[in-house]
Subunit: 492 residues, 2 copies
């Protein structure tokens, strides 16, 4: 990227970068981006740098005088890029693999250019209404009832925090005024496999770590409703106030599916708020044959799912659906004088649905993604990812040295290398080393978790560039790494 | 924007939009953006639509089949743009005026393209280290001590929530484990002029609305330290546990400045966490002659300031500096197995500093802004905005029909039209009508607030395109609207 002859223009007139300079630099940037997206396989997946490497290449203080974009973009390539772990790489399979697709990136460009802040309707009518409209479209695609109203947040951690704040508002209506101090303790129930964001939400909400009771999961990592019932009864006997139960469809470790319908029965019986964490798997409810995994979520009070995970939308974009939006607003609505508007009663002000007051125009990228791919295009792509996950799982299943450690309902495969005559701890160490070796190649990136107390590897598919050949190659790398680690183990 | 001949390409192969299509569409988009930024004055500032107008122009369900970008961009222009309130317009003076400058937009393009999620160091070493590095640069420019460590959040509401969560962790160390239930009540002190996000944080944290005590402000809307002391003593006598005091430098209504140094004395005396809300004015500490407004903030425990407000960075970008980062981490750190990494002990994982786990690579745009304008370029621009605010204030002061309602320490002017022989309520109604008339012209956008119980108009400057001529024009519009409203009042 080289942009010459325009240096300093924007720095003399106290204004912004001049439009002609912006156009020239942006054209170079766009060209680079198009090439990058095409050739992302040329980069190592996991950044091959050590902690501190990037900082050591940066000057100790901000420049006193402005610099040319030529120089800035050159540093971007020389200093920043080597420190990028390429989530765009087709062999990125860590955490949950994602794609910030072309249409989504185009949406981000316009969002950045418009730079609106949709805190109240009037500060961005289109930002407000397109968010509501797009989320209604998606709600219908997911098969959720009309009662569910959506709002976009940055991350699932915040979406779940807001949902559980609404649950607390429901269980402790007095807390909005006087707080939790002096009152009884509250409890949120979630399985041992639930995401850490639930515990973080409980901490934030003043319920403490003990405010979450981890409910036992069965052999397929699904919450056991009988254990949930027992926990609720025990708490009621102890004077602890049940607040909410969190059911997960597609847990982070194994993508297991809690029995939402049975949990909904218990939520109803005991008057608990039911929050469904479908941050990863939610998008797949668009696919009819995957919809059965979600049975019961239509009875929930709130659902979180992240278009930035498996709906091809650039990070950040998390959706919170709530079928009791009045309770959510009750937990958060506070209108200072300076944000009062004439139209207040007749519009939805996005700021009333959570902590964040300001907000980017995130709906634009989501609208672009939905329109460009269309519902059928999205269904086909999610189906393909599920197919690819089963394709990879077949490699694991065909080889007696490896074991698949959980079912594969969606696009995530968990597996583990089996050493010969090793203790569980030795096998754990072997799998950990294997993981580091694979990731050090820069050819593929996997992450890990623990299932049943044992280290297990995870391969997640969500990138639109991933093909069978990438999975074959990753499998080869895993096999080679396993042989190396295993032989060394034998030698010792 | 017209992009032909490429329709449907990306929808047949189950992949992303092909690079050549992306390049063609993005080039059109960039050309549009450059023209838009150049000609933003051609649009009405405040969107001239009624609630529901945008939604009524959108189909009721998502398209089943994908659509061409030609059509999508045409709808963007026809349906979305009329619903945009143009924060980029040089006569946007509502809330706090902002600029998502050219370099910032370029940063956003690359952030969207890279699409990394910097939750732990390894998932984006450059995202993690550039954030820390850029925030160290800014800390030094602001004159804050080295003890302050920064982290980027989306909004000041979240930054303040996290700061006050750390304060709660400090005041109620037991709450992390057992929650607030059963314990004593806690209190946060903030002036009557403090932002509503402080109350929202108290709600969220389980301290309730009563968890915030509003401290009286003086005639210049600054917190009165003697009133603060009295409130703390009263609470201590009542068995309520003081948690934190929030001092504001640049309040939202009048941009008043609390006496941070005196408040810091009290915070020290009573062992309270001191949080400084400088969301708007913080950037101006870069300017030596404005630095005195911030005296005492170097003694605080946390500071929030928003580069997306007055540091020319596209929304969202809020910085939380904390001089006790260990307490902040204590409030939030929770590492699930799947996020444990080999380098854990030797790196900073951004997820440990708040609720959000995932996060965009927001530091890139900030780095671009700092480098392109340079420290001196930023200083000059902030100085110019302060000069322009005084220029506008001079219009108000020169006219006996108007009154300036608060001092102008930064770039925000508050003022009010004085009717003849009107009651306060009648004058309020007149000023409210005046505001709606001015905004309905589409030529300028102002917002309002209440100061001393009375409606007051606000004009804020933060847009790099604003020149004296825009302020002259806005003044003309205000004068004309005032005459019209006043004459009608006389007729009635």
């Amino acid at each position: 990227m080289t942009v010459e002859g325009l240096e300093g223009n924007g720095r003399q007139n106290l204004g912004d970068m001049p439009p002609e300079e912006f156009h020239a630099v942006a054209s170079e940037v766009i060209e680079w981006v198009a090439r990058y997206l095409d050739q992302v396989e040329d980069y190592p997946v996991l950044a091959q740098v050590r902690p501190g490497d990037i900082r050591s290449r940066l000057p100790l203080s901000a420049p006193e005088r402005g610099e040319s974009f030529d120089r800035i973009l050159s540093d971007f390539q020389k200093v920043i890029l080597p420190g990028i772990t390429h989530w765009n790489h087709p062999s990125f399979h860590g955490y949950f693999a994602v794609t910030g697709s072309g249409p989504g990136i185009l949406g981000e460009i316009l969002t950045a250019a418009l730079n609106v802040n949709a805190m109240v309707w009037r500060s961005s009518p289109a930002g407000t209404e397109l968010e509501q409209h797009t989320l209604d479209w998606i709600r219908d695609l997911l098969g959720l009832p009309d009662a569910f109203q959506g709002v976009i947040n940055d991350t699932a951690s915040h979406s779940s925090l807001y949902a559980l704040a609404a649950a607390r508002e429901w269980a402790f209506p007095e807390a909005r005024e006087v707080g939790l101090g002096g009152g009884p303790r509250g409890r949120i129930y979630a399985s041992t496999e639930a995401h850490s964001s639930i515990e973080k939400a409980a901490l934030t909400l003043g319920l403490g770590r003990q405010g979450v009771k981890k409910i036992e999961a069965d052999e397929a990592y699904r919450m056991r409703p009988d254990a949930l019932r027992a926990a609720i009864l025990e708490d009621l006997a102890d004077g602890i106030r049940p607040v909410a139960v969190v059911a997960t469809v597609g847990t982070t470790s194994s993508s297991s599916v809690d029995p939402v319908d049975s949990i909904a029965d218990l939520a109803k019986e005991f008057g608990l708020w039911l929050h469904v964490d479908a941050a990863y798997a939610g998008s797949s409810a668009i696919v009819p044959e995957l919809r059965p995994h979600f049975r019961g979520w239509e009875r929930s009070d709130s659902v979180v799912f992240n278009p930035h995970k498996w709906l091809f939308t650039p990070v950040d974009c998390s959706v919170l659906y709530c079928s009791r939006p009045d309770v959510l607003r009750g937990a958060f609505s506070l209108t200072p004088e300076y944000l009062r508007t004439q139209e207040e009663g007749s519009v939805r002000n996005l700021m009333d649905h959570g902590v964040a007051l300001g907000r980017r125009f995130r709906a634009l990228k989501l609208w672009f993604v939905l329109r460009y791919f269309g519902a059928s295009g999205i269904r086909d792509r999610i189906r393909e990812h599920v197919r690819l996950a089963r394709y990879f799982a077949a490699h694991v299943e065909a080889n007696p040295n490896w074991v698949r450690t959980a079912p594969v309902p969606f696009s995530t495969v968990t597996f583990r290398y089996l050493g010969e005559d090793l203790t569980g701890e030795e096998e754990d160490a072997l799998n950990e080393e294997l993981l580091e070796r694979v990731n050090a190649t820069g050819e593929a990136f996997l992450s890990h978790t623990r299932l049943g107390g044992r280290i297990t590897l995870r391969l997640s598919i969500g990138n639109l560039r991933t093909r069978e050949e990438h999975l074959d190659r990753t499998w080869q790398i895993l096999e080679r790494a396993a042989r190396e680690v295993d032989e060394r183990a034998l030698v010792q």
